[in-house]
Symmetry: C2
Subunit: 635 residues, 2 copies
């Protein structure tokens, strides 16, 4: 382009320093507000301008412009400065080196380790581009139940090849560190984090990693949990473990994401108390480059949990969020549920840590406690399936995660609508119908799976389908009966002062609201209270009736989703229409399965009849107890 | 279409009985030659006519017409009656129920068992359509190393859903039968094929299968081999085992494909003799609905083997061919080698069973021995990879298998050209360059892997890369040293009268040609003979020099393929150009790896220097001995 024509150009995509002087001049004030990864979109004197301070900001800005074009926004009204509110925006892949994916429901790992580093598949580039388009800037590529092999040259070379492929898209690679790697790989006699030889091992290993990946992001660690080794094995604290690794990556600018998901079956207290009990006393004891990664709720990605009590409780220790994009407990591959609805509920929960308005989202963006380091992670839902995510609509969860990671205050209705417009259609009927399904889907699923605060009542091990009868087997905290404690009088887990008192981990405001079985919102009733089957609730129904009616409502909701979807036949392409219709049929069947199995099981204890309007189960309880399937994916 | 317009139609695709009378009249004589699955393509009075006796014939004819259009044949010259020469044209999937694929190098199984029968993925339809387009009419969907679970209702329901999806494309489903299934599934005390209770079990099971799949094709069985249970466990013959199953499927029109790949480490004779020794005496002892499935060579899908001596030796027992489309021993996912070249060599081999011209292909099409049942199977090379086959060019093997299954006499150059035209381009340079690569690729690969009749010198277990040093480990017949027997004097396996005399299993003509170390074609020299390292060959080189030169030639061939391919940049789409270029780079590296590792290893014995022109190895032998990789796919 020669200079004369340059002045006439109507679209400018350039770093601020590369824009022509007159444009720079007119945008100076706005440009000052652009941060490292941010961008400015501006319509100015007939020109569309995308500008930034960095290459990656420019890429984000360009994707934002494309989104606006795809969603038919008015370009003449462009005037927007966007900076990400959270620094580290990661996917966590629970991908094993043999390409199985723990809790993966979209096929197998897209990392073809065997071909790496020899072959860089186009899919890696597509992956990076897709992530960049929604603002993801990091990826932990291996399972948190970690294999130390990934720290050997054989695999570092492969990880480095992925890092090279991702780098142009602003995505850093992180690895999971198996805590006893010094023993596994080099026969050290211990992995004690206070042992100088162990510390040196990690320093050497880290230096080696950085020779392969100069911008290596750092480690993600699951320790002392579900069989993973950790500092507890040596009588050390989680801070001791995290700090050892933090010291190793510190010279290179790396970070350590240390998971708070620490619990074990030998601790006598309520499982959901344990992370808080363990980490709260360690507040302020972590190095500056450690961030503690906390699941959204205190149990384990259940369909509905109250927010994790650590949020707001660690003013001196940066906390990051771990959401699960893959739907381990929310229907796996075949249920349509808009996870953004769940995430928004958590993000907007008020911790009251510094009075009203101290939301989880303000903990995460660092504003509440002035965190120097901020982050958010989503456990990936992608795999080798042709459509990446198994369910077409699970792409929306990947997208929404990226949007909320960039700005946790974003409106989820807008997120859903943008996704529909970009993915399916700008037709009003398609948008409204799909948005209706999406925004209602979460309550529907909770109703047919775990209404009224029920939790952890899924099948053992693979977690597919209902399993309220799961009991025994060596670990109480992995059974359903540990959590619902149904007997002939009542059901529910007393977590008030008269019970495990897990409620004490929350602010006084919540103790008041949740502590009273009369006033607690019904969605958390059985999470915090034991309730008599025949207790009359605020709805006027007995607990039993309310439970049955909720399950029935869930089933009817699933059927409604199906009917709504069927209205779109002909308005979207037949392939995707059929695919989603096929999965919705499964969803309705499985909603009925959950309702029937759970009501039959709990009905043994309540001994009360199903209220009017609740359909009779299709089979007897034995059918559901004996329903077994082999090779359910994800384990 | 009203009747007036109908007469004017220029394209007719209709069963013969549905064609208008005048067309029927003019094509009567030709139509009489169309068989059940056949079709007629005819240009007649300005009309293109595709006709057949059956729906499936019409589908095959339509695909043939599309092929002619894609390859730019002149439609005005259409006049062709095509009937398949082989009845049962199957893919064999070695797919496990957990979706791993034994010897699969294109990702994982495309059968999503967990979602079946609830969801029929579009990929199943695409699979069936692709197979129908090349004439495949059956598929055995589970691994020959079989899991009895596939015979339970849980899986029969899933298999039936696949059968329903495949049926419109003329593809029947077959299952692999684990021989001890009566014990595994129903606790029978024995699986003895002569036990009436066992026989009844299989009859009942078969009847049950047909309630799920009314047109179930039958069983494929691997017995008494590599740990699989079989009739030997009860002192029975392979015929006893096959006949029991044959009796069970007979009332429903099913068949049994009984694999001849039977051998074990306790039989003292040369492993490659064992199938012949076992099956030859059973000729004529099998039921009419049994067909014995024989691998192309007597060992195990090595890069080059002489044809299997059972071909021509079983006039009273139908034999079918088992080719391996997946490249277990031919470079797995990343080498480009045109398997049709290897297959043609086998198909055109003369068994001399009824004098000259008694080719393997005439055994297979039934003409040599008047077989009532004919068949051919290819072990599938497809998986979840985006391009189905891992290597783009491995699609050509799938295609060529279908073409040769339809007619084993087909010209492989034409097959290659058609594939190139349909898949890449009708541009002359693209066609000639790709065809050149393809038609030379097989000799090139044999040279860099197993020249001069070497065999079974690959790495242990995963079979990826060279392993001439593999020895010990409990099963001699799974080592390399068992086969090459290199020592300081000589190398090779004496299979003449002075050795294992496996040569005796061939016709006199072959004994003469192959029995003499002076006259045997060099490609089978070390397969049949032990030869001194310093023996002068017909080429004027010593054996050692010839070996080294062959390896070098292989490497240079791989480099030549790479150079040829690079000429096509810009002539085909960049994605596929890059993908294949990336794999060719790996192929060149691995060709060098094979050459260097094998020459270093054998050089220890020959103690002779590398002849001029053979490049020095890049590393020392220890490097290759210690080269280990984890999680190599396919096992």
């Amino acid at each position: 382009m020669n200079l004369e024509n340059k002045a006439a150009a109507l679209l400018w995509i350039a770093k601020f320093e590369d824009l022509p002087d007159p444009i720079q001049l007119s945008l100076k004030e706005k440009a000052d507000l652009i941060e490292e990864e941010g961008y400015l979109l501006q319509f100015e004197k007939g020109k569309v301008i995308v500008t930034s301070k960095s290459d990656i900001g420019l890429l984000y800005g360009t994707f934002a412009l494309l989104r606006k074009i795809q969603t038919r926004e008015k370009l003449e009204e462009l005037s927007e400065i966007e900076n990400p509110k959270i620094q580290k925006r990661l996917l966590n892949h629970w991908d094993n080196l043999n390409r199985t994916v723990e809790r993966g429901y979209a096929g197998f790992s897209i990392w073809n380790w065997h071909r790496l580093p020899r072959h860089i598949d186009q899919q890696y580039i597509d992956y990076a581009r897709a992530n960049a388009s929604i603002g993801i800037n990091g990826t932990s590529i291996t399972n948190v139940n970690a294999n130390a092999l990934v720290l050997t040259p054989e695999y570092l070379e492969k990880a480095a090849a992925l890092a090279d492929a991702f780098r142009p898209y602003g995505i850093k690679v992180y690895l999971t560190a198996r805590f006893n790697a010094p023993m596994v790989l080099d026969n050290l006699p211990t992995a004690d984090p206070l042992d100088p030889e162990v510390q040196q091992w990690w320093k050497d290993k880290t230096r080696e990693i950085y020779t392969y990946i100069p911008d290596f992001g750092g480690f993600l660690v699951k320790a002392d949990s579900e069989g993973q080794p950790g500092p507890h094995n040596y009588g050390r604290t989680q801070a001791d473990g995290a700090n050892m690794l933090a010291d190793a990556v510190q010279p290179f600018g790396g970070i350590v994401m240390w998971r708070a998901f620490v619990y074990n079956e030998h601790t006598p207290t309520d499982r959901i108390r344990q992370a808080y009990d363990e980490f709260k006393p360690l507040d302020g004891k972590f190095r500056e480059n450690v961030i503690v990664q906390v699941k959204n709720g205190p149990l384990d990605f259940q369909p509905r949990e109250p927010f994790h009590p650590l949020f707001g409780a660690m003013p001196e220790t940066p906390l990051m969020m771990e959401f699960q994009i893959t739907k381990e407990y929310l229907g796996q591959d075949t249920h349509w549920v808009n996870l953004a609805s769940m995430w928004e509920e958590v993000l907007q929960s008020d911790t009251y840590a510094k009075g009203p308005g101290s939301t989880v989202s303000k903990v995460l963006d660092g504003s509440l406690h002035d965190y120097k380091l901020t982050g958010i992670a989503g456990v990936s839902n992608i795999g080798t399936d042709r459509n990446w995510t198994g369910h077409q609509t699970a792409q929306a969860d990947w997208y929404a995660f990226g949007q909320l990671a960039w700005n946790p205050e974003q409106n989820i209705e807008k997120i859903a609508e943008d996704w529909i417009r970009m993915t399916f259609s700008n037709d009003t009927e398609v948008i409204n119908t799909m948005k209706g399904i999406m925004l209602n889907s979460y309550e529907i699923l909770v109703n047919y799976m775990t209404p009224l605060g029920l939790h952890h009542i899924m099948a053992r091990s693979h977690h597919w389908g209902p399993g309220p009868w799961v009991t025994g087997g060596g670990r109480d905290d992995w059974t359903a009966t540990y959590y619902h404690k149904a007997n002939s009088d009542s059901i529910g887990f007393d977590r008030t002062e008269t019970g495990s008192n897990a409620l004490a981990q929350y602010a006084a405001e919540w103790k008041e609201i949740w502590g009273d079985a009369e006033t607690i919102p019904l969605e958390f009733l059985l999470w915090f209270h034991r309730v008599l089957w025949n207790k009359k609730l605020s709805t006027g129904n007995t607990l039993w009736d309310e439970l049955a009616i909720s399950y029935q409502k869930g089933v009817e909701g699933a059927r409604w989703m199906q009917q709504e979807w069927n209205k779109l036949e002909g308005l979207i392409d037949p392939d995707r229409f059929k695919h989603i219709a096929s999965f919705l049929k499964i969803q309705v069947n499985e909603a009925e399965w959950w309702r029937d199995a759970c009501l039959l099981y709990f009905g043994q204890y309540s001994k009360m009849p199903l209220p009017e309007g609740v359909e009779a189960p299709k089979h007897d309880l034995n059918y559901y107890l004996n329903f077994k399937r082999n090779f359910v994916p994800g384990i």
